[in-house]
């Protein structure tokens, strides 16, 4: 049985999130994955940016670095290049990762640098009080979309796939065991790995979008998520308001960035032209 307290900074609990927030569960899933892989706390560097998702690394006893809004992957890229021996993990949110950090996300994916990115998608900017994000579904309500959000949203997994990431998965807080398993696979994958975790913000999002309790939001996740292995059972029409979960894309052929750089240096040292 997993002793989660072994991985937590107990003096930082209770954490600052609202009742029913999914962030605590995502942290649990990460810890389950780390425990499953048998990694030491010392070899993990957990980077975050700004927002509710950024508070995840306050409570875990890894090497933890919180950076500026959206820029986390750029910080993590510099760190990883100098310490390729360490497991670099980034936790971001839908605002932090897909809006202000969108450019860094696609470029980290393009380089295929060995960083695992967990994007907690709660469809809202929680820390600032409920504004719509690029992942807020069209038609939903937010403090900055009082008449309903007219903007289409990204499919962030497809975006990251097109950008060149080599491991892509999606899960939900409801499917916490699957989330943990996918995070473990992502960390074990050599290359840029990306997991979108559909999560709940009962206070900033649910309240404004006819989901009154954290339980209702978790059940929404259960009812709208379709395992990728079972997707063929559904018609296109049925899939319209659903989303796929599971391992969505894997590419084991594309070379990893720090490895390519090391190879370049080695060739130079041997007297080649690179």
């Amino acid at each position: 049985m997993l002793d989660i307290k072994k991985y937590l900074r107990l003096s930082k609990l209770p954490h600052i999130w609202c009742p029913g927030c999914g962030n605590g569960s995502v942290v649990r899933a990460l810890i389950m994955a780390v425990d499953k892989l048998g990694l030491s706390k010392d070899e993990i560097v957990l980077f975050t940016g700004i927002g509710c998702s950024a508070r995840t690394n306050v409570i875990v006893d890894f090497n933890t670095i919180q950076t500026t809004h959206g820029r986390t992957l750029a910080f993590a890229t510099g760190f990883k290049l100098m310490r390729p021996d360490m497991k670099v993990i980034v936790i971001t949110g839908d605002g932090d990762g897909a809006a202000i950090g969108g450019n860094h996300l696609i470029h980290a994916a393009r380089r295929n640098i060995d960083i695992t990115t967990i994007l907690i998608n709660n469809s809202i900017y929680g820390m600032t009080g409920g504004q719509y994000s690029p992942l807020s579904p069209q038609g939903t309500y937010a403090t900055t979309a009082p008449y309903g959000n007219i903007e289409p949203s990204f499919d962030i997994c497809k975006l990251v796939e097109a950008a060149g990431a080599t491991f892509i998965a999606r899960s939900t807080v409801y499917h916490i065991q699957l989330t943990a398993d996918l995070i473990a696979k992502a960390i074990a994958h050599k290359g840029f790995s990306f997991i979108e975790v559909v999560s709940q913000c009962p206070v900033g999002y649910g309240r404004r979008n006819r989901m009154r309790t954290p339980y209702e939001m978790l059940m929404w996740q259960k009812e709208h998520a379709v395992l990728v292995q079972q997707a063929q059972r559904y018609s296109l029409e049925e899939m319209k308001d659903k989303f796929l979960i599971g391992e969505l894309f894997v590419n084991k052929e594309k070379r990893e960035y720090t490895e390519l750089y090391e190879e370049l240096r080695r060739k130079l040292a041997e007297g080649g032209e690179g």
Partner: protein
């Protein structure tokens, strides 16, 4: 202890850390045996510990790490 009825007689201790619990109600809803309940002032409390079957759904789903299910003495 009689053979064959171990599962039925196994007892679990359900520990709720009230300092960490934010009474979000997730454990109340997911518990198949209704071990948890809201009190009249909206706090979550362990009310029917003896009903616990040890599925640990509460522990797994609690976003505040406030529930712990321990295996107790067998009768």
């Amino acid at each position: 202890m009689k053979e064959g009825v171990i599962a039925l007689t196994k007892r679990f201790k359900v520990v709720l850390n009230t300092k960490w619990c934010k009474s979000c109600g997730i454990c109340v809803e997911f518990c198949p045996k209704k071990v948890f309940e809201f009190t009249s002032d909206g706090k979550v409390r362990v009310m029917r510990e003896e009903m616990c079957v040890g599925c640990r759904s509460c522990e797994l789903r609690c976003p505040d790490y406030a529930v712990e299910v321990r295996e107790g003495e067998e009768e």
